[in-house]
Structures are given as structure tokens and as C-alpha cells.
């Protein structure tokens, strides 16, 4: 009788213990790798995003402990692709084959994203969330629902550039477009062309340049022909550092009539290219639609004081946090499960809003298998059916004579 009572007591105790544990008591151990340019012309952005991803993994791990949810979410390796597609493929291969990661955060650029997805992550069934890839081509990419992005598509930015141009110079005029010949440059140049023509304007010249060209003087000459009313230049800092001087040397280019994209939204970049080249130019750049962004910046700075801040850092934080939450929600590290759960935790299936500041609550909701809308520091937008961010906010910036950036909140464009 005594033995029977003991067995009963142990049984009751065990039942109580197990019932008090969260649904995924076994926990998932999610291994994430990052791919960003850690060296080269885009290194500031890449280091900022990588640091933010590490910060997210640390924040989630702490919150998991507080929420008493078993498992882990770790950045196991951070690779440098120098914003080069070939290196991105090598980096993704290393992460998938050697580090055996379940998911990747990054790359930064569209060319690297498409190459890594096409050659490595999609064939190997690994989920990837690109952090700043904006090419509209990514929307149509056949990715088995494994490629997502937290940064808005240039389908939005093209419209913003054209709206800013119309405000600056008026409708029905002629613009010349100069763009780098890659996934990002060609796709955004096409969007701007379509939007500008739709608004009644003309495209005088559309010149695409190969970033690896030996010289850019002939390209500069071509893009300044025809006396346009304005220019749209779509390029990255390391290439424009060579194109810019060539444009000035033509004697026909005017920075004050030129609109750039977000890659130039950095005072260090402007300094490197040359304030005398960039002064007076304007541009558009995506802006955070996240919640408590300034608070996030302060926390990130406190956690990682040595890393320089860029405007897009929080995108790396949200991408990592979303992957961790999705894995907890899916109770799995399998790509197809994480992919489905990414929508469940980003609000695509409805549910209440949970901000990044309440990570413990988000983790508890995910562990309980609930659908909710994670409200990040960069984005509050849910993923659409293509894995794109469904909302966006853009600023229109200008560069003053000292190379300083400024923008007015009233001129922001929201989608």
C-alpha cells in the first residue's frame, strides 16, 4: 500500500511538473548564420546589421530564459561577402555545409541575395531573411517560400524617387538615369523609368555601368548627354567613388539636380566620395516603421558600443528576432516549418501586436503556438505572400555644402 502511494505521489508530481512547462519543453536550438559585407565600401552597413543580429540573438536568449522556454537561438557564424555575389555564394555554402545553420540573416545587397538563394539556400532548404536587399526582382524569385526580407522593395522606392523629382523639378520633363549593372541597379532603374514615363516625363539617357570597369569617363559622358532636367543615380559607394569624379569632369553634371538612393545616406560615405562632389544632391532612403526605434538604438549602443550606427541596423535585429520566434512557434528547425511560422509571428495570420520591447511575451506567445504580430524596431509590417515586407516608409534627404544629411518628417512617404 505504501509503495502504491509513493508511485501515485511521483505520478502526480511528474504530471504537475510537465503541465507547468511550456508547450515546447524540449525546445529548439536554432543555429543562424549571417552574411553581410564586413569589409569594402559597404562595410559600415554590414557590420551594423551583423552586430544588430547578434544583439537580437542575445536578447532573445535572455528572454527565453526569463520566459522559461527551453532551447536556444544563436548566431553561430558571421560571414563577409564584401557585397559580391560570388563571395555571398561561398559564404552561404560555408554556413550551410560546414556550420549546418538552419537559417541565414542577410545578405545586404540584392545581387548577393539572389545568388546565395539561387545557388545555396533554396536548393538546400534553408530559410533566409535578407536585411537590405531591395530589388523588385526578388519578389518574383522562385524561392519555395524560403526567401524573406525585412527591407522594403524598390517597387516602393521607385515611386518615392519619382514623387520627390516631381516635387523638385515638376512634371513632364526629361531625366537621365545612371545605374550600376546588377540586380539592384537595373531593377530600380526600370521602376523609375516606368513611374517617370507614367507621370508624363521622358527618359533622355539610361546608362548602365559595370562596377568592375577600368574607367568610367565614357559612362559619365554618356549619362550627361542631352542636357537633362535632372539625374537619378543608382549606385553603391565604392563604385560611385569612381563614377562621381568622372561625372564632375564632364563639366555637364550638376549634383544639385541629382537624386540618389539609400546607399548614399551616410555622412561617412559622402566624406569618402568627396563632399565637393556630393554637396547639394538629394535622395531617398527607407526609414524605420518600427516601434520605439530610438529606444532600440540606445539599447543597441549600450550593448555594442564599439559599432558605428547606420540607418538600417534594426533590420538585422528584426530579421534575427523573427527567425527565433518562428522556430519557437514552429517547435522545429525545419525550413518549411520556420517559413510558415514566420508569417504566424509577423502578423500575416492576425493576432495581437507584441513589440520588441516585450520579447518575453512574444516568446511565450510563440511557445504556446499563438499567432501574433511582432512589432520590430525596424518594421511592423507583416510578410506578404512573396515574403516581402508589406509596408514601407521613405525619407527624402538632402546633402548640404558640408556633407551633412538632413530630411524633414513632413516629406516622408508611407506605403
Amino acid at each position: 500500500m505504501k509503495a502504491k502511494r509513493s508511485i501515485f505521489a511521483v505520478g502526480i508530481t511528474a504530471a504537475m511538473v510537465f503541465s507547468s512547462l511550456p508547450a515546447n519543453a524540449a525546445g529548439v536550438d536554432l543555429k543562424i548564420g549571417t552574411i553581410h559585407p564586413l569589409t569594402g565600401g559597404n562595410a559600415d552597413y554590414g557590420i551594423g546589421l551583423t552586430t544588430a543580429a547578434e544583439f537580437a540573438a542575445e536578447s532573445v536568449t535572455k528572454a527565453m530564459k526569463k520566459a522559461k522556454v527551453a532551447g536556444s537561438c544563436k548566431i553561430v557564424a558571421s560571414e563577409d561577402d564584401q557585397a559580391t555575389p560570388a563571395l555571398a555564394v561561398e559564404a552561404a555554402t560555408k554556413l550551410v555545409k560546414s556550420n549546418k545553420v538552419h537559417a541565414i540573416v542577410g545578405p545586404l545587397t540584392s545581387g548577393s541575395t539572389v545568388s546565395a538563394a539561387q545557388s545555396v539556400t533554396v536548393p538546400n532548404n534553408v530559410v533566409m531573411i535578407a536585411t537590405a536587399a531591395s530589388s523588385p526582382d526578388i519578389t518574383k524569385f522562385k524561392d519555395k517560400d524560403l526567401l524573406f526580407r525585412t527591407y522594403p522593395s524598390d517597387a516602393f522606392q521607385g515611386k518615392v524617387i519619382v514623387a520627390a523629382l516631381i516635387k523638385a523639378i515638376g512634371k513632364g520633363l526629361t531625366i537621365n538615369i545612371g545605374a550600376r549593372n546588377d540586380s539592384f541597379g537595373t531593377a530600380l532603374a526600370n521602376v523609375v523609368t516606368n513611374e517617370w514615363v507614367k507621370a508624363g516625363g521622358d527618359i533622355g539617357r539610361k546608362i548602365l555601368w559595370n562596377p568592375e570597369n577600368a574607367t568610367f569617363d565614357s559612362e559619365a559622358k554618356a549619362v550627361t548627354e542631352g542636357d537633362p532636367d535632372a539625374w537619378v543615380i543608382i549606385d553603391f559607394p565604392d563604385t560611385f567613388a569612381k563614377v562621381g569624379p568622372a561625372l564632375v569632369r564632364t563639366g555637364k553634371w550638376d549634383a544639385k539636380k541629382t537624386f540618389f538612393t539609400e546607399a548614399m545616406y551616410d555622412e561617412a560615405v559622402i566624406e569618402t566620395i568627396g563632399v565637393d562632389i556630393m554637396a547639394g544632391a538629394r535622395g531617398t532612403a527607407a526609414k524605420s516603421i518600427g516601434v520605439k526605434s530610438d529606444s532600440w538604438k540606445a539599447k543597441r549602443k549600450a550593448a555594442k558600443p564599439d559599432t558605428k550606427e547606420t540607418f538600417v541596423d534594426a533590420s538585422g535585429y528584426d530579421a534575427t528576432a523573427l527567425l527565433c520566434l518562428a522556430a519557437i512557434h514552429a517547435k522545429s528547425t525545419k525550413a518549411s516549418d520556420i517559413s510558415k511560422s514566420l508569417r504566424a509571428v509577423s502578423g500575416s495570420n492576425g493576432g495581437k501586436n507584441i513589440p520588441w520591447t516585450k520579447m518575453k511575451a512574444a516568446i511565450k506567445a510563440a511557445a504556446a503556438g499563438k499567432d501574433f504580430a511582432y512589432q520590430g524596431a525596424w518594421t511592423t509590417a507583416k510578410f506578404d505572400e512573396n515574403g516581402d515586407s508589406s509596408g514601407a516608409l521613405f525619407r527624402v534627404f538632402s546633402i548640404d555644402a558640408n556633407g551633412k544629411l538632413s530630411s524633414k518628417d513632413g516629406e516622408d512617404v508611407r506605403f
Binding site: 569589409t39 559595370n210 577600368a214 574607367t215 567613388a241 569624379p245 566620395i273
Partner: protein
Amino acid sequence: MTDLIQYLFNGLVAGSIFAIAAVGISLVYSVLRLVNFAAGDFLTLGAFITYYFSVTLELNFVLSILISMLAGMGISWFLELVLWRKLRRNKAGTLALFLVATGVALMLRPVIQYLFGTQVRKFNVDILKTYDFFGARIAHTQLIVLIFATASIITIALFMAKARIGKDMRAYANNPSLAAVSGINVDRVVVATWLISGALGSLAGVFQGLVQGQFNNAMGESLLLSFFAAVVLGTIGDAYGALLGGLLLGLFMELSQLGIFFGGVPSNYKPVVAFAALVLVLLFKPEGIFGYRARKV
């Protein structure tokens, strides 16, 4: 007319840099039967060493270029002593040498990155200054590069034709066995080849850095394909051919954008034009423009 002058000038500048780099590659191949895949990285190294002495240490720019050429020569010589000579004596084949050269390139890249970083650099020269020439805008830095590159090309051509070691190099390239039995000091020829190749690589790197205005650690490797195209166009292993091949390649690429060619070939197709020209030349002269020299041997 203005357009023709502008594109012709741009083509000559790009072509002269191709030519200088290509002649170094061609010399190494002709004497050593080695496809020097590390040639692009010697360009990058040359530009960065010049930057270090002229900008960081604020030495005279010309003196800095000379130091960088000496450094290029020194590194080439060091590699000959510790690597290439031993491989030759072990009868390493062309493929093995090519793979080792690729390995040297892959090792040089992180070394350059470690030593000089990956930031965009520029020399202390006015890259925005231009001159008007019959309506064409001639950049100050490009003019300097064209003048000095032309002088370098003439010097190389004269050296190969007149200097004793230049003649020895050509003789050895044409027939190594005959050259060796006729008393030519083979080791001297080989070392001279590496020294010239190292110096020209550094010089081409400085010129390229000047023409671009700014450069980073990826400069040389991105141009390597064009250099090899120039070598093939001018006949593999022929130094004079490489000079001509480089110039022609630069001119093809830039002049293709003139309006008379179907309204101007879009600039993103410049490499396509260059390689189409290369294929066309090779169709009619499979050994390159100076191919008859090779057939004579």
C-alpha cells in the same frame, strides 16, 4: 568630332594601362610558361604601397611610385627564390604552376586587406581638374597617366629590342634550350623577367588608381580578365603583342560607344565588345595579332 576625341582619349588611357599590365604577364608567360594569376594583385599592392608612402608618410609622389615599383620587384624576386625556382627544378607542369599562381593570388589578397584595409583610398592629386581639347574634356590625371604610360611603353619596347638582357629574354622565350646552350644565363633572364613584371605591375596599379580617382583592395582582381584578353589578343608570350593588344582592347571598349556604331553600344556591353573583338581576331589569326612570330619559331 568631339565625341571621337573624347572616346579615343578614354580608350588610349584605359588601353595604355592594360598594355603595361599585359606586357608583364606576357613576359612571365613567354620566359617561364607561367600564367601569372597574381598579376592583378600586384597592381593593387602597387597602388596601396604608393598610397602608404605618398599619403600616410607624405613622401614625394614620384618617389613613392619608385618605392612601390621596387617593392613589386622585391616581392617578385622573393617569390622566384622561394617558390618558382624550386617548382621549375621539380619540373612542375603548366597546370601546376597556374594553380600555384592562383594560390599566391588568393594569399596576397587577405595580406593586402590585412595591411591596408578595405576602405576606399585616393592619392593626394586633383582628380577633378580637366583641360578642354577641341571640346573634349581631358582629365589632368588621365593626361599624366597617358604621358607616363606612353613613355613606359616606349621604354619597354626599346629595352626589349636594344638591351642585352631584353634580347636574352626574347631569345630564351623563343627557344629556351638553344638559348641555354648558346651561353645565355638562364637564371639572370628569369630574375630579370620577374623584376620587370613586378615593377610594371606596381606602375600599372598606380596608373589605374590615378585614372579611377579612388581605389580599394579589389581593384586588381576585377581587371585581370581584361589583362589576359590583351595578352591573348596580342599573341600569348609576345611582349610587343601584349602592348598592342592592351591598347587595342582599351580602344575597342571605349570607341564602341560612339554613335556611329549602331547608335553607340550600351556601356554595360563594353566587355562584350572587347571579347567579341578578341574572338573575331582569333578566328582569322588564331595565334593573336603577332601570331606569325610564334609560327616562325
